[in-house]
Subunit: 380 residues, 2 copies
């Protein structure tokens, strides 16, 4: 460990809420922040040294990475390859494009997890419709078809229960290299866990949380998850193994299916701070955003344990379209104990992530009802 | 309460750590931030819309306050009068120059507290050396002489135990309107409490804390203070009465002397977020900085209670002079649970406030030893 530190500069590729909250955490520690994003959407404004420009332009990227000690991404789709290509040798890019390449492609991601011995839903990488039909039959005529790249929040996925539906899914979702077919998992709960991992290999694991979706989008996150101790231990081992399997440096969000018998399967990975980790700002000794910054700088990682008995986060999703005009913000501030985060997006649209509310309490029931109440009052 | 809110803009007069942490809290809630400070000292950089310029210039101040919903100060010495003079009628200035005028002058401040029936050390506003001598005699030949304006952290104060020392103090510290002479208080502990008060008069009170000084400067703050329940109740009443007495809108730091019998006297007031309230970022549901922003916007105030059993904050004071070159930052990050805040000042000098460390824990002993350990490793 280098004991002589002047304050480093991190570069964040991305101008959304994950970059914004990472930047705020970095600034609190005296770390300098630059951001590069292709559009001025709002969350990036006035936080750090902001560049809005075409990040696929090598000259723009080179000017941006120049002077950064580390460059990171707020999304697996940011052009880390270009940052790596134009960087000075002294500038690190974390997570690496190698990690991103694995995670972006759901087939490669599943294979990496399987190769590491991590339980995942049964899956088949199908290069042709006939292979997809064979998998459909083998998995008991109930499968989920997933586009290899670009599927999220219910987009690019389809539950398939007939050959006719399989035809439709193949037409809609397959790409040149085919389609991912997974066995349908009759899960009882969706869970998630965040891992922070530095380039030295040090890792810390956040508490297992219970994530509830509405319309395929994250609605509420409860920490800790009401799962057994054994399940929490198993999740921990699986999350750490997943972080090693994809060699992530930075944050890794690990999404699980919990089965009726308590067994876990890994559903998906995200190589960055994650919506299911926002509760850590108030609830843990060190937030996911601070540990993201620490891990990419290869600084010692902070304590990821809860500092409160329970916390619940509820997302604030857009309810209309157009420029943001908020109602109910002050009323929500009246819910004592509600921490209201607004991402500063200029425009809203239905189901866009516009902010979130976190409440910490002595029990998750109290936290839940306050967080739901505050969130329900705010129209964004 | 107005239920229709677009996101307001606050203007902060001041570019130091208090403005910086207030700005970070505002940005998290989606509130827009402008800052104006006379010099680019570092903490203001890249956080909000930054103006560095002569804030005594009416044109510069007018350009700054234009478009702010509320203007606030990070120090009682910021030119709130000019902000009030050049503002648009729709722009509020909180705290008001009237509040600041009372608090800036230690004689007026003491009289306001006394008039409100709040216990303070015996004092005499002395217009002449002979009046000072009379007070010295009346208070038992052991007094503290205080400059009316500009005394802080041991500067502008003198403990006086002889007529010769009184002569020196009069020469060094008296101004045109004289000198404040206070009876020396044999306190057992120094305590503090933060109050947030909005323009509607809503107030919340933070936990009473124990503040320890080294060389007249705040070294450590322990929350909650190890005082009796009765003392905590009394402090609460006194702090709320003090906030009303000076009609503060925003934050008010109230410093107390605790006597051997548990009685409290108010020592001093600060009309802004306060060093003794930094622990609230991690330890309370709503931080002093967030409640500062809420109170000046007349939004409902957040829950000021502890969300953890105990917290200790230790200041990071400058140890040398010149441009900041840090050592030990990474080692300090290795103290699990330490939240390290660095203010981004370009230059350091001995005893300058450069940052702070907060640790939350199940007991204050654990928090204290970790916070001291982390703080001792960082040389700024």
């Amino acid at each position: 460990m280098n004991n002589e530190t002047s304050f480093p500069t991190i570069g964040i590729l991305g101008g959304g809420q994950l970059g914004r909250m990472s930047a705020l955490a970095a600034l609190s520690m005296g770390v300098r922040v630059k951001t590069l994003s292709p559009t001025a959407s709002g969350p990036e404004a006035h936080i750090g040294d902001v560049t809005v420009g075409d990040w696929n332009d090598p000259a723009i990227m080179a000017a941006f990475v120049n002077g950064c000690d580390v460059v990171t991404v707020e999304s697996e789709w940011a052009p880390a390859e270009l940052a790596e290509a134009v960087r000075d040798p002294a500038t690190a890019v974390w997570p690496s494009s190698k990690t991103l390449k694995i995670i972006r492609h759901k087939g490669r991601q599943k294979k990496a997890l399987e190769a590491a011995g991590i339980p995942v839903p049964e899956f088949q990488i199908c290069g042709s419709l006939s292979e997809a039909k064979e998998a459909f039959s083998r998995f008991g005529h109930r499968v989920v078809a997933k586009k290899f790249e670009g599927s999220y929040d219910g987009y690019g996925n389809a539950t398939v229960q007939s050959l006719k539906e399989l035809d439709v899914a193949w037409n809609d979702l397959s790409s040149e290299d085919g389609l991912l077919i997974e066995s349908f998992v009759p899960f009882t709960r969706e869970l998630a866990m965040m891992v922070a991992r530095s380039s030295s290999g040090e890792s810390v694991v956040y508490p297992l949380v219970w994530t509830e979706q509405k319309d395929h989008r994250c609605h509420a996150v409860t920490a800790p998850s009401p799962s057994s101790d054994r399940t929490q231990q198993v999740a921990r081992k699986m999350a750490l193994a997943a972080a090693d399997a994809v060699s992530v440096v930075g944050l890794l969000g690990v999404e699980f299916f919990e089965l009726e018998n308590g067994d876990l399967l890994v559903n998906e990975l995200a190589p960055r701070p994650h919506n299911t980790g926002h509760f850590t700002i108030e609830a843990c000794h060190t937030s996911q955003f601070e540990n993201h910054v620490r891990s990419i700088l290869n600084w010692p990682l902070g304590d990821a344990n809860l500092q409160v008995p329970a916390a619940v986060m509820v997302n604030l999703l857009g309810k209309r379209s157009g420029l943001v005009q908020t109602t109910g913000l002050e009323a929500a501030m009246g819910i004592s104990g509600a921490s209201i985060h607004i991402y500063g997006k200029h425009e809203t649209r239905p189901n866009r992530k516009m902010g979130h509310v976190t409440v910490t309490a002595s029990d998750s029931g109290t936290a839940r009802s306050k967080a739901e109440q505050a969130a329900s009052l705010i129209i964004l």
